[in-house]
Structure formats: C-alpha cells, structure tokens
C-alpha cells in the first residue's frame, strides 16, 4: 500500500486502531463482568449479595470462604480435581501428541479415515456415553476412583489433543526429522529429541486447554464418582441445585472463585511458553 494510493492512510489506520481497541475493551467487559461479579459477591455477606440496586461498596468478608472451606469435602474435592485434571491432561498429551504426529507424518493407508473416525467419536453426545461408562466402571469395581475419571476424560481429550497437535506438526518442516534421522536418530528419537522440544509452546497450550476441559467437566464426574473422587464442578452443581435449602449464592460464588484461581495462575505461569515463537529459525527465515 502506497501513501499516495489512499487518502491519509495514517489517520485512517490510527482511527481503525482505536475502533479495534474500543471493540476489544467492550468484549472484555462483556466477558469479564460475570467473573468480576462472582469474585465480588464471594466477599459479600449473604445480605449484601441480594441488595437492590446491587452495591459495589460493602465491607468485605471471608465468612463464606471460611464457613465453606471448613466443610472437608471442598478441599478434598479441590485436590481431586487437581489430580484428575493433571492426570488426564498428561495422559492425553502423551498419547494424543504421538497419535497426532503419526497422522501428520507417517504414510499409512487409511490414515485420514482413522483420523476422521477418532474425531467423529467426539460427535457422540457425552450423555450417551455416561451411562454405559458407569455400567462398565461398576462391573469392574472402579467407580469413584481417580483413575476411572482420568480414563473417561481421555476419551474426549485424546481426539482433541491429537487434532490440535496434528495441525501443529504439519506446520513444521519435514526436513527437521529427516535431518535428525540422517544424523543418527530413529523416528522415535527424532520425535523426542527434535520435534517435542520445538513443539513445547504448542504442547503446553494444548495441555492447558485439556486440563481446563477436565477441570470444569461435570457430567462424567457426576456419574462416575460419589464421595471419594468427586470433583469441584460436582460441588457447584450440588450447591446450585440444592432444592431443599435453595441455592446458597454466597457459597456458589466462593467455590466458583476457588475453581477459577488455579486455572488463571497456571495460565500466567506458562504464558512465556505460550507466546514464544514456534519454529522460527529452523529453516529459511
């Protein structure tokens, strides 16, 4: 674009820039306001939550947190959720990344069909799988165990990881592995020594998304766990759906806040990796 071709392109682009920033801010307000309101409400006492009109200024209290955390099952459920999210995230990344690599690189008759079939399995409504899974788990005697939930989550996480990572691997130049294989690596060696280190940003972002999916999953957790391995979303659903006492909004916002914090902290910790350039410098710049 030349300066002469358009009337005052600089002013035009500056205006466009401002419009975009305004639109971005508006979107942030729309998406973040409920979160803000949830966090705010979690520090109110029961009366302040329902004042009309809603108040922004109140005496903050940790009462809801303290009273709710004292019930042992919240902290145990938090730990359960961490175990299950980490376990299913790690397992699905390990299996999904290798499967995605195979789909991206290995010439195999019917590879495309296999990939699509695995993806199609995600099209099955989870509710249709929940009951059979429960029956299987019960007959194996593994209901209410972490590993059961981890494996159940892998059924939808692995296809997800596989397809994301397949796209990622396809974007890497094939010559990287070929060079490694000439330099003395097997296919596995080239994958672990060259491809995995280069793909760290992609692997980590996929891992985070997988863990978030596992973190907030409700249906399988509700069906497959009972007391011992139950997760936080089950608690939230329990509070919200308490038909005897009515929803405890204070508790709901407090548990909601507790649920969000680890995800945010985790995302902040790995953001260095997330924004890092991918395979720059591997080949011609």
């Amino acid at each position: 674009m030349t300066a002469a071709a358009l009337p005052s392109p600089r002013r035009r682009s500056r205006l466009g820039h401002r419009v975009r920033i305004a639109a971005g801010l508006a979107a942030c307000v729309v998406f973040l306001f409920p979160v803000f309101w949830m966090v705010l409400s979690s520090f109110k006492d029961q009366r302040d939550i329902f004042t009309m009109p809603p108040t922004l200024f109140f005496t903050p209290t940790l009462e809801t947190y303290i009273s709710y955390m004292q019930r042992a099952d919240i902290s145990r459920r938090l730990i359960n959720t961490i175990i299950v999210a980490a376990g299913s995230g790690a397992l699905s990344i390990a299996a999904g990344a290798m499967a995605g690599y195979a789909l991206a690189r290995i010439r195999l008759r019917g590879a495309g069909t296999i990939g699509v079939l695995i993806l199609l399995s995600r099209g099955v409504p989870p509710i249709a799988l929940a009951v059979p899974m429960f029956l299987v788990a019960r007959s194996l005697g593994v209901t209410d165990k972490h590993i059961t939930l981890i494996l159940a989550y892998c059924t939808f996480l692995i296809p997800y990881v596989m397809w994301l990572m397949r796209g990622f691997f396809l974007a890497l130049p094939r010559e990287l592995e070929e060079s490694a294989m000439i330099d003395g690596c097997s296919r596995f060696g080239a994958f672990f020594k060259i491809i995995v280190p280069i793909s760290m940003p992609g692997l980590l972002s996929t891992l985070i998304f997988s863990m978030i999916l596992a973190w907030e999953e409700l249906l399988f957790a509700l069906v497959l766990t009972n007391r011992h391995a139950s997760t936080i979303p089950v608690s939230i659903a329990g509070i919200a759906g308490d038909t005897v006492n009515g929803a405890n909004w204070g508790a709901l916002t407090a548990v909601g806040t507790i649920t969000v914090i680890p995800v945010v902290v985790f995302a902040l910790l790995v953001q260095k990796w997330l924004i890092q350039g991918l395979a720059d410098g591997a080949t011609k710049g």
């Binding site: 060079s179 000439i182 591997a282 080949t283």
Partner: protein
Amino acid sequence: MSTVEIRDVRKSYGQLEVIHGVSVGIADGEFVALVGPSGCGKSTLLRMIAGLEDISGGEIAIGERVVNHVAPKDRDIAMVFQNYALYPHMNVRENMGFALRQRRLPRAEINARVTDAARILGLEQLLDRKPRQLSGGQRQRVAMGRAIVRNPNVFLFDEPLSNLDAKLRVQMRSELKELHQRLGVTTVYVTHDQIEAMTLADRVVVMNGGVVEQMGPPLDLYDRPQSLFVAAFIGSPPMNFFQGDVEGDATLVLDDGHALALPVPVPGEKGRVTLGVRPEHIHLANEGWPAVVSVIEPTGSETQITARIGEHVVRVLVRGRTEARPGETIHLAARPGDLHVFDGGTGRRREMAP
C-alpha cells in the same frame, strides 16, 4: 569415503512410476550433480540414496553394501537440505555436534571436530548463537558444518544454494567447490540450476521425466549434447534452434521459407531436423545468414544481439562491443564444428562430419 552405485532404480507412487530405471555409477571422491527441471525426479533419487524414500525397484549400493533396506542413520551419509533444517532449539555448536552425540562419541572429540569444522567454515564466532540469530548465508554454512563434522562416506546436497540471494550463491558455490577439493568426499548434488551443476561437478547427470537424458563431464554436455533437451537445458543464454527440412546436401529450409546454407552437409537421412547453434558460437561475418538486428544489449565484456532471420529470433553473443545498430542487416556465421543437428522425429543428436 565411498562409491555410490545406482542400478536400474525405479520409484512408483501407487500406479504412477516417476523414475523409470536410472543407473548411475559414482566413483570414490567424485562430485556428481543431478540436474533437470522440477519434477524430473532428481530430488526423489537423492532422497532414495539418503533412505528418506523407499526404492520401488533396482538397487542402490554405498561402497560394497546394498542399502535398499538400511535406515538413513546407518548409511553413513550426511545431507544438506534446501531449507537447511537446522534444529531451532539448539545453538550452532549443538547443531553441529548433534550427529556425533547420537553416536556417543567422547565429549572431547566432539568438541575438537566441531571446532575444526567451524574453523574451516569461518563459524568460530557464531558457535553460541541460535539459528534464528543467523543470516541466510550463515545458516547455510552451519548446515554444511553439520555435514562435515560427520566425516561421512557420502555428502548429499538438495538444492543447498537455492534460498540464497544471487551474490551469496556465487560465493557459496566456489566455497563449496573448494571444500570438496579439500575433503574429497564423494558428493551427490541436486540442483535445477545448470550453471551450478556445470561449475561444481566432475560429472553432470541431466534428468528429464524420470530418465537420464545424458551424463558426462560438464564440457561434454556443452560441446556434444546428445538430445534436444540437453542442448536446450545446458548453456546460458540458451542455444538457438531452427526447425526445417533439409534440401540438397547442405541447405535447411525453415518453416517460413527462408533457406539457411550450411557450411557442411547434414549427416544421415534428409527430411526434418532441428539445427542448434549456441549464441556465443555465432559471429558476425561479411557473408553468411542475413539477419535484421532488433535489440543490442551491451554488458561491457560482451554484447548480446537479438536479430531476426525471417520470423526466427536468433540470439548472438559477441565478445566486446559491436558496430551493429537496430534495423541493420548483419550476416551471421558459425564454424561447422559448432553446429548441432538433431533428428526431427526423435530429437537425438546426429553427429556432424568433422
């Protein structure tokens, strides 16, 4: 170091055969260039030598050993790719030492060999940089360094200079030649650039459509191209061609009716032929083929004249300068030995009488 024997090698993708039985013997220490237009199968052939592509038929031997089913890592070859394929997460030192670490060589020896290669290539100052911090030419050198630390039996190059700008390409080309003269390692070099092939190689293999059109020393290809394809492919600016029918002993009647008198009789049967003359082999004379000058392009050391014989465009390259001006009629002549005649049907060369 080692020989490479390619015996009747074929490559098919399903029903489609793309390499139709290629045989090339490469001597120990020889530099062979595979050259041809894109899609001619030269890269596929190189990748089969490397073990990156399966061999559908025939066999490839490195040294005494047939390597058809040997993994790339066990062939003791080193390869430089067009896009260099440097490992982005490793610095130059680690990139160059990677193959040696794979072979679990002692750390001291790896260091010594990397330092040595870095010195040869002038990379000493860059050893701690990551590939993304290097210029194109430096990356190219690192890719070469990664190959030479291996001290392999065979070097394979897949269009290694194509991503460089013109000036750097010429510089790297002579560095590459010097490197080969110094190390003397058997080398197979793929390029689509005939000048690279001609300047670098001991022997050039011209490929077209999955077959070898001709192989031989560069100047043989230039002097006596065996087919129209090779004649057109080798040489820059390209050879002039005149299609026509032979009449009498030594007259070529072009399609637009113009007759060219040839200094010697056309060998073989009469009938349809293609006459070829290189621009640098045509000179201006007092008598000869009359042509009308259309463009004069001086470059100082030489001048390119574009002229027309009837409707035929002829390019002439003369040393120094010329008095000719656009619109003038000039007379063109060539020595008998510089004329190439190709059969009108097969496109194969007909040997002229000396």
